[in-house]
């Protein structure tokens, strides 16, 4: 537990908070975006914002794969679960996410579909082996942290000759989403994109390394600090960002040295490159269609691709017009700027992308901060 609890030490947190307070330039404002839902969760759970001086504002980005999965893809998963005899295997996070027409995988299961929760992608192998006559479909979602597991599952299915197993691939890549936030033309209408620096993903970067962020730091002149998910990691990373901004630097720095190298996990990268390839376009909930932002299964593993094996129709869906998620995940608005936050849109009955999982900005704000907010008039 040393390598977990050691990064939650109370005295060091207070010390880091004091160093940050001493480092900030009082007349300057610091808008720091954490990309990852894991950071969003840690920031709210440990009250990190309350430890910071008033001129540092933490902006919560789009980095929760559950939140950004486009509704038509979730609708398609529900349709796959309804195929005759099918078993749909999913990570538990996806079950309560609302699809169109108020459906969800949980409701589909209640209505008789065989939807099973996996804690590892490899659980799908045993399910497929136990039911050779039934189609077994793994609902693959996630950023780079989770993608290698799916690639390994597909290879293992091939090795074991599990012909009834297929994968509905919805994996997305982080750098494309960061570029979308920085390039978004509507940000000019909404106001300045309030991002002076990025708290970079920890476990995504364990796979892809710190190198892919160098482009952003250089091209957009924004510092990036790869940060661990524990509260002291986040505080130290904020201090590193403040120092870079003060000095006018825009570099990639690595706070999470215990898990991230410059090159990342090259074995996992090679595995993903063998099995998966970029799609020219992929739609994100809240961000819209982004070029080269999603992955699909390569033709030589096509036998395991649910999109090739089963008819999957993607029906366009319309997001609730009052929902401010697109502006929130780009750092232009806050959850409390949204008229339906905490009223029509709650974690029990979510409407927008940021409310659908505990790592979304709105859900985290609702859970941890609502008590501190004045009651809505």
């Amino acid at each position: 537990m040393r390598y977990l609890l050691g990064f939650r030490d109370r005295g060091a947190a207070a010390g880091l908070a004091r160093e940050i307070a001493a480092a900030v330039v009082p007349r300057r404002r610091y808008h720091l975006m954490e990309f990852c839902g894991g950071h969003t969760h840690a920031i709210f759970r440990y009250g990190v914002q309350d430890l910071l001086p008033a001129n540092i504002e933490l902006v919560h980005g789009p980095g929760c794969p559950v939140c950004v999965l486009a509704v038509p893809r979730l609708d398609a998963a529900i349709e796959l679960a309804a195929l005759p005899g099918a078993i749909l295997v999913s990570y538990g996070d996806m079950l309560r996410v609302p699809a169109s027409r108020r459906r969800s995988l949980l409701k589909a299961r209640a209505q008789g579909a065989d939807v099973r929760i996996a804690t590892s992608a490899l659980d799908t192998l045993d399910i497929a082996a136990a039911h050779p006559q039934r189609p077994v479909i793994f609902f693959a979602i996630g950023f780079e942290t989770t993608t290698p597991a799916t690639a390994h599952l597909i290879r293992e299915a091939g090795r074991r000759g599990l012909e009834n197993l297929s994968v509905f691939c919805n994996h997305v890549v982080t750098p494309a989403a960061i570029a979308a936030i920085l390039d978004e033309p509507r940000v000019r209408e909404w106001g300045r994109a309030r991002v002076d620096g990025f708290i970079g993903p920890s476990h995504v970067s364990a796979i892809i390394g710190s190198r892919p962020y160098e482009h952003f730091a250089r091209e957009y002149q924004r510092p990036v600090v790869i940060a661990g998910f524990e509260p002291l990691d986040v505080l130290q990373s904020i201090l590193m960002l403040v120092r870079q901004i003060n000095e006018g630097r825009a570099c990639v720095e690595n706070q999470f040295t215990r898990g991230v190298t410059s090159a990342g996990n090259t074995k996992a990268q090679a595995l993903v490159a063998d099995v998966l390839e970029l799609r020219p376009r992929f739609a994100w909930r809240g961000l819209g269609e982004l070029p080269y932002s999603g992955l699909r299964i390569k033709p030589h593993y096509g036998a395991f691709d649910a999109e090739r094996r089963y008819p999957i129709a993607e029906h366009a869906t319309v997001e609730n017009a009052a929902c401010q998620c697109p502006a929130i995940i780009r750092g232009v608005k806050k959850p409390t700027d949204c008229a339906i936050f905490g009223t029509a849109c709650t974690p029990r009955d979510p409407i927008g992308a940021c409310m659908v999982s505990a790592e979304g900005a709105c859900a985290a704000h609702y859970k941890y901060r609502r008590a501190a907010q004045p009651a809505p008039a």
Binding site: D9, A12, T145, A149, K267
Partner: protein, 95 residues
């Protein structure tokens, strides 16, 4: 979704599997993504897969830095951090 925990390898199992432990809880993790795992190694595990080795030497360097910052704070002039009422005002969850 991308949450992961540091675990210690207790024993290697057949194939690309290991038995790992954290806080007395043991689980079976896939080591397919990490080469040359040995008993006693620390791994960072996400959704049943070790995604990388935990670099113990680097972890100790970071912990030593935090210990120094914590000690300096304790021995310091008692000024509270901005926006907080000092160590006692930190939210629950800190150890």
């Amino acid at each position: 979704m991308c949450l992961a925990v540091p675990v210690r390898v207790v024993a290697l199992l057949e194939g690309d599997w290991a038995e790992a432990e954290i806080g007395g809880i043991r689980s079976r993790v896939s080591t397919a993504l990490v080469d040359e795992v040995a008993a006693g190694d620390y791994l960072i595990v996400h959704a049943g897969f070790a995604i990388t080795r935990l670099d113990v030497a680097e972890a100790e360097i970071t912990l030593a830095l935090f210990a120094r910052i914590g000690a300096q704070h304790k021995a310091g002039d008692g000024a509270a951090p901005a926006g907080a009422g000092g160590v006692d005002a930190l939210p629950a969850g800190f150890s």
